[in-house]
Symmetry: C2
Subunit: 552 residues, 2 copies
C-alpha cells in the first residue's frame, strides 16, 4: 500500500508488495524509517514527560470504532502517528520522569529489537524458534544461577533438558507470580495413588480429599496487587490472600506471620505459600527473606519471592546482600523490563527445583509433544515473542559489573535525594530508601512542628488537608509535563496509621542528575503556591491546633 | 559500552553513553543499525526455513549459565548474534514456511515497531502511556464493532468510559481465553446480599453457597490445548473441561453438547461456559456458532468463541458469513499475531457487554485508582507494551478491504492445494479446508485402494506404518530446511477413528505461490523414497491385506 494509489481500491499486487523485502537503501520504507528515527530522537530530546493536552481531547483523535475502508500511505500514516500519538505519549526515558519503574532503555536495544521483530519467532515451540529456544533456556539459566548459585554441573544437567524447565519467560511480573503460585498450589494438592491431583479434579475435590477447608497465601500488607488477582484467578479467593503486618520499615512482621499461619491451620485452612517481597512496589523495601524461608521450611509451605523490581540488585556486589535469603526461595519473580532495562513485556519466574514445573506440564498433538524441547509445555502463556534475546544481548553488552554499577548509582542517588528532602524544612521523608525508591511529601514550613504536637484526631484533620495538597501537586506537576513523580497512599505509624498520600520516586535512570532532583523539589514548592486555598486551609487547621481552639 | 574499552572495567561514563540519544546519521549505532538491516534482509532473502545444524550443536553456543563479567562491543555482539542466533533461527515469513499460524509480516511494521520500542509505554496505566491508552481503547472498539456491529452511540458511550472495558489486549490467545473464562466463572458465582462472590471467597465456598458439586466448561474435542490450562489454573480442574464429539467436518455435535449439559446438571455440576471454536487449530473448522448460542441462551451459560486464528475472517465480505452467530457470543478471543499479521504478543478478548469485566475489576493505591482510565484495572496481566499501536497502524495502512483480500487469497489458495492433493494418486486429503488450513498425508500409490478394502484391524496396522512414514517425511523436510509443514494427529471416522498422523498446512502468507505448493508435494514424494524400509513395510502390509494372508 506504499505506492501510487489514492483510491479506495486495494489491489492484490499492492498487498504482495507490503510483504516483499524492500530493496536497497533508497526504498520508500528505508527513507520513512530514517525520517522516523530522526523524528523520534527529536521527540525524545525535546519533550519532557508529555504535552499538555487534556485526555478528553486526545480521545477525540481515537474515537472512530470503524476499521478504515480506505488504505493510507505509510508515510501519511507515520505523520499521523507522530502528531496524534507520539506527541502525546509519555517520555518514560526522560531523566525527570522518576515516578514509576518504567525507566530509560539503552539505545543499542533499538537496532537489536529489529532482529526480534523481523524474525518474529514464536517461542512456544522449537519449530518456530529454533536457536531462540536454547537462547531463552540459557538466559533462564543465567538468572537461576544469579539467584541460586548452583554449580556448573547443575546447569549442564538441567538447562537444556527436554523434560525440565528452570523457569519461564512471560509477559510480566503478574503472570510470573500467578505461575509460581499455580505451581505451588498444584504441588501442594498433588496426585496420589487414589487422587488424580488438583490439576485434574479442581479445587473443590482437592480440598475434600486433603481435608482442608480452604487455601491461603500469606504476604505482607505491602504485597503487590497482582497477588490479589492471582488468588482470585487460581480459585483460592482474595480472602485466601492473608495480609501480614509490616514494621516501620515496611517489612513483614515475622511474629505476625507465624501467628497467622497458626490461626489458619487451626481453622483447617492450608497455608500453602508465603510470598516474600524483595522490593515493595510502593516503598522499595525488602522482607527478611531468610526468616521467612525458615518458617516455610518448618511449615512445608512454598516460599515465593516477588523480586519483580528488586531482583536486579543481585547483580551488584555491593548491595546483593540486601536480598540475602532469596537463594532459599522455591520460586522467584524477576522483571527484565524493570531494573534490567529491557523493553516492556519481559517477565520471568525461576524455580529452585528443576522438577517443580512438572506440576503444570501440558502437551498437545501438534506441538509440545513428549520429549520435545518446546518451551511452551511449561508456560502459562502460549505463543510468545523472542524478547529473551534482548536480555541476552544486554547481559553481554552491559555485562554483570555494568549492571551492578547501574544498581549502585540508583541506590546512592536515592540516598542523596533522601538527604536533600531531610535537609529541607518544607518536605517530609515518609519512607527511607533501601533500594532506589523512596516516598515523601510537601509539608509547608512550620506545619511539621504542629503535626508532632497534634492529638490523634487533630493529626487526622491536618493529614487529610495535606493529602489534598499532595494530590494537587502531583497532578499539576504531571500535567505541566516538565517532570513526573507518582503518588500512593501509606499509613505511617508516626501519623497514627492515618491514610497519608505521598510522592513516590524511583531513581533508575542513570541520566537523572542531582540538579534534576533539586529542580523537582523546587517545582513542587512552586506548584503548592498555586493552591492558596489548600495552603490556607492547612494554615488554619495548624493555627487551631497550636491555639487549641475548637475548629469551626 | 560502544566505545574504546576492551578491558574488564566498566566506567560509569560509558554506561551513561548507552542511555544517551545517539547523535546524527554517522553515529556508531546508526551504522550498526544500517548494517543489521542489510544483513537481516539478506537472511530473509537467502535462507529458506532454517539452517541444517542439529539442535544439540546449537545448544553448545548457549550453554554458559554465567552472566558475562566482560562487556562486549555492540558491533561485536551483533556479529555474534547474526552467526549464532539469526543464522539458526526459523524463517517464519518464508513463502514455503506453511506449517504454523505464524506467518509473514508486512514490511512497514519494521520501522513502525521502532515507535513502540523507543517510547516503551506501559499500558497498565495512563501515567506511562497517555495517548496509547485511548488508542488501545479505540482498537478494542474496532474489533468489538467488527464482531458485534453495535451502533455508533454504543461506542461513543462505552469505548472511553473510565469504568468499562469492551475487552482487553493481552500477550496472546491463551491469556485471552483464560480471561474470558475467568470473567464467566466470576459472573456465574457472583456476590449476593449474603455471599461475597467467588473472587473473594474462592471456589470451595462458592460451590457450597450455590449448591454445585463442580463447574464445567464444554468444548469440542478439537478445542485448543490452552483451555486445559485454563481449567487447571482457574481451579476447575481438567476433568471439568468436558469434551464434546465432533462430526466428520470437525465441528461440535450439537446433540452431544445438549446431552452432556443434561448429564452434568444431573450430577449437580454447573456447566458455566461453552466454548465455540471459530477455526480449530488442527483442522481450521468452525463450530455452528448460532446453534451453540441458542443452547447457551437457554441454559444461561456463558458463550465464549475462541476465534484466536479464525476471527480475522470477519474482515472478508466474502467469507464473513462462515462465522455467522459469533455476534451472539458473550466473549470472543482474537489474536492479532495470527491472521492480522502483527508481530508476536498481540492477543485480545472482547466482551459483548461493557459491564462483563466488572467481575474481575481490581484497584491499587498507586495506580488503577477508581475513576482512572488505566487499562490495567481490567486485565489479567499488569505491565504491557503498546503493541496495540501496530494493529492500529495495520488497520489504517492495509484497511479493511485489504485485510479481506488477504483472507480471501488464503482460503482460495487452500482450496487450490486441496484440489492438487485430491488429483494426486499418492496423497490423501484428510481434512478439507474451510478456512486456509488443511491436513493431508502421503499414501504411496495403490495403497489407498488397499486401505479401503482393509478390515478395521488391518487398517490399524497399515495406518501405523503410514504414520511412521508421515513423521519421517515431516521431520526430514523440516531438517533439510527448504520448506516446512507441521504435523498433528487426527482420528478420522473413515479410518475407524484410528490415530492418523497428518501434515498440517496454514496458507496465510500471500507470497506462497501455486508453484511452491506443487514443489512441496514433490519434495515429500522424494523424501518418502529416502525411507525404503518404511516404504517396504507399507508394501508388505498392503500385500498381506490384498492376499489376506496372516501377517508375520
Amino acid at each position: 500500500m506504499t505506492h501510487n494509489q489514492k483510491s479506495a481500491d486495494v489491489s492484490f499486487e499492492s498487498l504482495l508488495k507490503i510483504f516483499t523485502i524492500p530493496e536497497g537503501p533508497d526504498s520508500t520504507l528505508t527513507q520513512i524509517e530514517a525520517e522516523l528515527s530522526h523524528n523520534l530522537n527529536q521527540f525524545l530530546r525535546e519533550h519532557i514527560v508529555a504535552e499538555e493536552k487534556p485526555l478528553t481531547e486526545i480521545e477525540r483523535d481515537f474515537s472512530d470504532p470503524a476499521i478504515p475502508e480506505q488504505p493510507q500511505f505509510v508515510s501519511e500514516h507515520t505523520d499521523h502517528l507522530m502528531n496524534t500519538l507520539v506527541a502525546h505519549s509519555v517520555h518514560t526515558s526522560a531523566p525527570s520522569f522518576i515516578g514509576h519503574m518504567t525507566s530509560a532503555l539503552p539505545y543499542f536495544l533499538m537496532p537489536l529489537s529489529k532482529i526480534m521483530i523481523a524474525l518474529n519467532q514464536n517461542l512456544v515451540k522449537i519449530e518456530t524458534s529454533k536457536a531462540f529456544t536454547p537462547l531463552e533456556r540459557q538466559v533462564l539459566g543465567m538468572l537461576h544461577r544469579l539467584i541460586y548459585r548452583q554449580h556448573d554441573g547443575f546447569y549442564q544437567q538441567w538447562m537444556h533438558s527436554a523434560s525440565h524447565s528452570l523457569g519461564a519467560f512471560c509477559s510480566g511480573g503478574t503472570i510470573a507470580n500467578i505461575t509460581a503460585l499455580w505451581v505451588a498450589r498444584n504441588n501442594t494438592l498433588k496426585a496420589t495413588s487414589d487422587f488424580p491431583g488438583i490439576e485434574q479434579a479442581g479445587i473443590g475435590q482437592a480440598l475434600a480429599y486433603y481435608g482442608y477447608k480452604g487455601l491461603a497465601i500469606l504476604v505482607s500488607e505491602r504485597g503487590h496487587y497482582s497477588l490479589k488477582k492471582a488468588a482470585d484467578v487460581l480459585g483460592i479467593g482474595q480472602q485466601g490472600l492473608v495480609s501480614i503486618a509490616t514494621d516501620e520499615h515496611n517489612r513483614i512482621v515475622i511474629d505476625d506471620l507465624q501467628q497467622k499461619i497458626a490461626e489458619l491451620k487451626q481453622q483447617g485452612i492450608k497455608p500453602f505459600a508465603v510470598v516474600g517481597v524483595a522490593g515493595t512496589t510502593e516503598t522499595g523495601n525488602i522482607d527478611p527473606l531468610g526468616d521467612i524461608a525458615d518458617i516455610c521450611h518448618h511449615e512445608q509451605c512454598h516460599f515465593h519471592v516477588d523480586a519483580a523490581w528488586g531482583g536486579a540488585t543481585l547483580l551488584s556486589d555491593k548491595y546483593r546482600h540486601l536480598l540475602s535469603g532469596i537463594e532459599l526461595a522455591d520460586s522467584v519473580t524477576i522483571d527484565a523490563h524493570k531494573q534490567l532495562y529491557i523493553p516492556m513485556g519481559a517477565g520471568m519466574v525461576l524455580f529452585k527445583d528443576p522438577d517443580a514445573m512438572k506440576a503444570v506440564e501440558h502437551h498437545a498433538q501438534y506441538i509440545l509433544r513428549h520429549g520435545s524441547k518446546d518451551l511452551g509445555s511449561h508456560t502459562l502463556e502460549g505463543s510468545r515473542s523472542g524478547i529473551a534475546m534482548l536480555l541476552y544481548s544486554s547481559m553481554h553488552i552491559i555485562s554483570r559489573p555494568g549492571y551492578g554499577m547501574l544498581i549502585d548509582q540508583g541506590i546512592e542517588k536515592a540516598r542523596y535525594f533522601a538527604e536533600l528532602i531531610q535537609e529541607s524544612t518544607d518536605f517530609e521523608l515518609v519512607s527511607e530508601p533501601e533500594l532506589c525508591l523512596l516516598t515523601y511529601r510537601y509539608v509547608p514550613e512550620n506545619i511539621a512542628a504542629t503535626m508532632h504536637k497534634a492529638t490523634k484526631e487533630q493529626c487526622l484533620t491536618l493529614n487529610n488537608a495535606l493529602n489534598e495538597l499532595t494530590q494537587f501537586i502531583q497532578k499539576t506537576q504531571r500535567e505541566t509535563g516538565r517532570s513526573f513523580v507518582s503518588r500512593t497512599q501509606l499509613n505511617p505509624a508516626r501519623w497514627y496509621h492515618h491514610p497519608t498520600v505521598v510522592f513516590r520516586v524511583v531513581l533508575a535512570n542513570p541520566l537523572t542528575s542531582r540538579e534534576i532532583l533539586q529542580a523537582i523539589l523546587q517545582q513542587q514548592r512552586e506548584i503548592a503556591r498555586l493552591a492558596p486555598q489548600l495552603m490556607a486551609n492547612i494554615s488554619r487547621i495548624a493555627y487551631s491546633i497550636e491555639n487549641s481552639t475548637p475548629m469551626p
